[in-house]
């Protein structure tokens, strides 16, 4: 049986002024990377706070790494949780080295390990600089180093790549890949969805405090029923010739010129379509398959109101 690192059952959090989270059910299996997406104010951050035990649910129950976050006596399981908040500002006058040493000592982590992590996120050259001189990306990387202290088994990352340049972002994904090899469960909030696709096992879409869709990318694609788009390159002037039979196969032509043809078809008829194109032989020079991206899925689901 797969163990779940995070289990939420009918969790609601209502503030006097608004309902932040309503009837949320979901679980994240151990070692899985779950992306949590939704508009600003969709309840993602509240959900993270609930998981971290910073706020108590109005109704429902949670189990995080087998513990109830409400249980204040057993807060030592927090050693196994790493958290990167969306907006964090550390003490401006402390150096990077002092800050990481402070957080390391709270998790009873050795100094050498904390320096190793600083090296891993690429801050070893800036150890003795004060935090206020750090760029936004460096601050974000310090936040990440801090989250990785103490060998976490569960990582909660709120917008981890904001402020990172493309190289640093790539580096961040490498770190995530390594962590997943070690079986770390990761829950990640991000607006930059497309980059995540390759690494996500599951996606949960939230809208106004409710989960509107949850599952693997394939599940969500099937649920959304968005057409698949194909970009076909053919021999010069042959587009007209192959367009007609394709339309007979229930494909919609969205764009056409002498050499290129873009069509959309239902995901279920993908293979039929490909076989048909294969039969055309040398007429077809190239086929580009465009899967529904996470961004498009997000657009579909985020417009829906809760279950």
């Amino acid at each position: 049986m797969i163990k779940n690192s995070i289990i939420l059952e009918n969790v609601s959090k209502h503030y006097p002024s608004h309902k932040a989270v309503t009837d949320v059910n979901f679980s994240v299996p151990e070692g899985c990377l779950m992306a949590l997406v939704g508009h600003n104010g969709a309840g993602k951050t509240t959900l993270m706070k609930l998981i971290l035990g910073l706020v108590q649910p109005t109704t429902g129950s949670l189990s995080i790494l087998g513990h109830d976050p409400k249980d204040k006596a057993s807060f030592h399981y927090r050693n196994a949780i790493g958290f990167l908040p969306e907006n964090v500002a550390f003490d401006a006058n402390m150096t990077g080295k002092e800050l990481i040493a402070f957080y390391a000592s709270l998790k009873r982590e050795t100094k050498s390990r904390s320096l190793e992590l600083m090296d891993m996120v690429g801050l070893s050259a800036a150890l003795d600089r004060r935090y206020k001189t750090y760029s936004k990306g460096m601050k974000q990387r310090l936040g990440l180093a801090q989250a990785l202290l103490g060998k976490p088994r569960l990582l909660l990352l709120d917008e981890p790549t904001s402020g990172l340049d493309p190289a640093a972002r790539q580096h961040f994904y490498d770190i995530i890949r390594d962590l997943r090899k070690d079986g770390v469960t990761i829950l990640l909030c991000s607006h930059v969805l497309t980059e995540l696709e390759a690494q996500t096992d599951a996606v949960t879409v939230m809208n106004s405090g409710r989960v509107v869709a949850s599952g693997s990318l394939e599940d969500l694609r099937a649920q959304a029923g968005l057409p698949l788009s194909l970009r076909i390159t053919v021999q010069e002037g042959m587009t007209e010739k192959i367009a007609q039979p394709l339309q007979n196969q229930n494909a919609t032509i969205t764009y056409m010129n002498g050499r290129h043809l873009e069509i959309e078809c239902a995901p279920s008829s993908k293979m039929t379509m490909l076989r048909h194109l294969g039969e055309l032989g040398s007429l077809v020079e190239d086929i580009e398959l465009q899967n529904t991206s996470l961004d498009q899925l997000y657009a579909v689901f985020s417009d829906q109101r809760g279950q």
């Binding site: 927090r78 908040p85 964090v88 550390f90 402390m94 709270l106």
Partner: protein, 276 residues
């Protein structure tokens, strides 16, 4: 316990880094020295201890300055971190909220003690080893000034945390800090004085007035320093009061300790319940 110490050390380091300690020590030292050497000039050659004269002037000054320093040190310690988001992060660590409050309190008390010791201590040594010299009694009076200043400061630190835990924004906290300072340092005394004047000594017994003073940490401090020793009482013109004072120094000390523990306990309770 180790966790509390980690928090305290961080506060201490931060205060050293942003020169809080140096600034506060210098301020206290300059004031103490100027009071010692300029303020006591009129004493001339009379057989009066410079040290004790300085203690009397210093304690009047401490009453104004130290609460202000303490409140400035503590007013944003909770709400500031909540606003910056670092509190949110800290709370996800294996640490409970009591440890955070106690750690900060310990750190800030250390900062205050160092500043007082350096500031007043420097002045004390200069006076002690200057021409007049100082006897044991002088040193005891001076030592008790430093100790009680730390107590006074801690009481206002504790009140500062209470403010910091209750409010949602830093701006509110600073406003309240100024209000608290005004209330305890100025308004409270004026109210008591006003009541005495209006009453013309008919209903308000002196025991009762003395008792009232314990409800203000600043007055408890004054009571302790100006009437605690006979000689300082004479110098401060309080001997008549001190002579028939019904409240021995222990009461003032207990009142100060109460002013340290109660707001601290209350802020710990409130902070534990608060949702960040």
């Amino acid at each position: 316990m180790k966790t509390i110490w980690i928090i305290a050390l961080k506060e201490l380091k931060d205060a050293l880094r942003n020169r809080w300690i140096i600034a506060a020590s210098c301020l206290l030292a300059v004031l103490a020295l100027s009071l010692a050497f300029v303020g006591t000039a009129p004493v001339g050659g009379a057989k009066i201890s410079t040290m004790q004269v300085t203690v009397v002037s210093l304690s009047s000054l401490s009453v104004f300055l130290v609460p202000l320093i303490s409140l400035m040190l503590s007013y944003d310690s909770i709400v500031g971190e909540v606003e910056r988001g670092s509190m949110l992060l800290l709370l996800t660590y294996p640490i409970n909220r009591w440890q955070i409050i106690l750690g900060k309190f310990l750190g800030h008390t250390l900062i205050l003690s160092i500043a007082t010791l350096l500031g007043y201590g420097a002045a004390g040594f200069l006076i002690g080893f200057s021409s007049n010299g100082a006897d044991l009694q002088d040193w005891m009076v001076f030592g008790s000034l430093i100790a009680s200043t730390v107590l006074l400061g801690s009481a206002f630190l504790s009140i500062g945390y209470l403010l910091s835990v209750c409010v949602k924004e830093r701006a509110t906290a600073i406003g309240l800090a100024v209000a608290v300072w005004l209330l305890f340092v100025l308004l409270f005394d004026m109210a008591v004085l006003g009541a005495l004047v209006v009453d013309q000594g008919e209903n308000l017994k002196s025991d009762f007035v003395n008792f009232l003073l314990l409800f203000n940490p600043a007055d408890s401090f004054r009571l302790l320093n100006l009437t605690g020793f006979d000689s300082t009482a004479a110098l401060s013109g309080m001997s008549s009061i001190a002579g028939r004072a019904v409240l021995p120094a222990q009461y003032a000390i207990i009142a100060l300790l109460g002013w340290i523990t109660l707001p601290l306990l209350l802020s710990g309770c409130l902070f534990s319940r608060r949702e960040i």
